[in-house]
């Protein structure tokens, strides 16, 4: 395939990945990499580099809206970013020493787990913890979320386990060039019992900061191919915006099952490819 056909095809695929990611509630980064590897035969390291740029673009674009509505908790975000950025630097370093086929297998496994996590039912009750941990209070993590009836205070628990889970999410982000948003949400929502809306907004802020920690390593190792980065990053960014708009009109509940099956099949194919099996 020659230019500009290659660019056009990659950009179209990336827009679709962005739309799909927004509709299913996964990030665009975790969908666009398998598409580039399986669909275009691109080396997984270049695909990860391009996806990482897309992750930062999407996080920055969506973050502006999140910050304006005052849902995100800057203190929680910054405190946990210590864990995610440190993890990401280690993960990015691992990515440079691991065999690309091993990366494929790990990527497929992480994608499967992500699908599993997104199947988890969220009760939406947001009862929260009755009281905060002493450590959470010392770190001044508990905050208040804006509600129609005025700000509502919430408690924070499980600071240390949440911090450790975030370090793991950081390693995955650096290792695979993804935002690892699903893992971050689990750490804050399930372990630290932070209200879901605060969790998603804060996680979006952290995704960009975490991904930035891998940039230096990826750049030096030559993971960023501009010819790939430009159509992928802009395509996923545009697709994510489009997907957010479509959410209001598309019956996502019925489509979600179909999308998740498709994504699971892609995950299995990534693992098989890494193991040397071609279908």
């Amino acid at each position: 395939m020659t230019e500009p056909l290659f660019t056009l095809a990659v950009a179209t695929g990336s827009i679709l990945a962005g739309v799909l990611g927004a509709l299913v509630g996964l990030g665009g980064g975790i969908i666009v990499t398998p598409m580039l590897v399986l669909g275009f035969g691109i080396d997984i390291r270049y695909a990860m580099g391009a996806a990482l740029v897309a992750v930062i673009a999407t996080s920055s674009g969506a973050g502006a809206a999140y910050l304006r509505d005052g849902m995100s908790n800057m203190r929680i975000g910054l405190f946990l970013s210590i864990a995610t950025t440190t993890g990401a630097v280690c993960g990015a370093w691992l990515a440079t020493v691991l065999d690309p086929s091993a990366l494929s297998v790990i990527f497929g496994a992480a994608l499967l787990v992500t699908v599993g996590l997104s199947l988890r039912k969220h009760d939406g009750a947001d009862a929260g913890a009755p009281g905060s941990d002493p450590l959470a209070i010392r770190l001044r993590l508990p905050g208040a979320m804006p509600m129609p009836a005025g700000p509502r205070a919430y408690a924070v628990v499980g600071v240390l386990p949440g911090f450790l889970a975030m370090a793991v999410a950081g390693v995955l982000s650096g290792l695979l060039g993804i935002g690892s948003g699903a893992f971050k949400v689990v750490a804050m929502d399930q372990i630290m019992r932070i209200p879901f809306k605060v969790t998603t907004a804060t996680s979006n802020f952290m995704i960009g900061v975490t991904a930035a920690a891998s940039v230096g390593v990826y750049l030096k190792q030559g993971f960023f191919d501009p010819v790939l980065v430009a159509p992928v990053a802009l395509g996923v960014l545009g697709g994510a915006f489009l997907g957010a708009r479509l959410l209001a009109v598309v019956p996502t509940k019925s489509l979600r099952a179909v999308f998740l099956i498709v994504v699971s099949l892609i995950a299995v194919q990534m693992m098989l490819r890494g193991a040397g099996v071609r279908i």
């Binding site: 395939m1 020659t2 230019e3 500009p4 290659f6 660019t7 275009f40 035969g41 691109i42 080396d43 270049y46 740029v53 930062i56 673009a57 996080s59 920055s60 674009g61 973050g63 502006a64 809206a65 910050l67 304006r68 005052g70 995100s72 800057m74 203190r75 910054l78 405190f79 970013s81 210590i82 950025t85 440190t86 990401a88 630097v89 770190l139 001044r140 802020f205 960009g208 900061v209 991904a211 930035a212 920690a213 891998s214 940039v215 230096g216 390593v217 750049l219 030096k220 190792q221 030559g222 960023f224 191919d225 501009p226 010819v227 790939l228 980065v229 430009a230 990053a233 802009l234 960014l237």
Partner: protein, 123 residues
């Protein structure tokens, strides 16, 4: 500055930064495509990247050298770097906000995150 003002300033910074970076990437890439019409892309085999796409100083030098053989890709990478620096700027701005609030604990925490980010970039 109170928390709300910090958050509003961050929101403006993020959106402005993304739009500027996207514009540079689009411009540089369009320029590249025009000069590489019919070329065959080579991202199928990993070969790292040359110094003008890895070293920021070389990147700027190449991008400004309009008469050069056609390394428009450096312009794209400058846009990419600008995009990637966005989260770093966010953390730096948060640190400034906490300094203004005389919040010692969170000044230290944001500077620590900033330190990890800078370390990852310059080690």
């Amino acid at each position: 500055m109170n928390d709300e003002q910090i958050e509003k300033a961050l929101a403006r910074l993020m959106l402005g930064g993304v739009l500027l970076a996207a514009a540079i990437i689009v411009g540089g890439y369009a320029w590249f495509l025009v000069s590489h019409w019919g070329a065959v892309p080579g991202a199928h085999v990993f070969s790292g990247e040359p110094s003008y796409l890895v070293d920021p100083v070389e990147m700027v030098r190449q991008a400004l050298d309009v008469g050069a053989v056609g390394e428009r890709r450096s312009v794209v990478m400058i846009g990419v770097l600008l995009l990637l620096l966005n989260p770093v700027a966010r953390v730096a701005l948060a640190a400034c906000g906490f300094i203004a609030q005389k919040d010692r604990l969170y000044t230290a925490i944001s500077l620590l995150v900033l330190g990890v980010l800078l370390f990852s970039f310059f080690w």
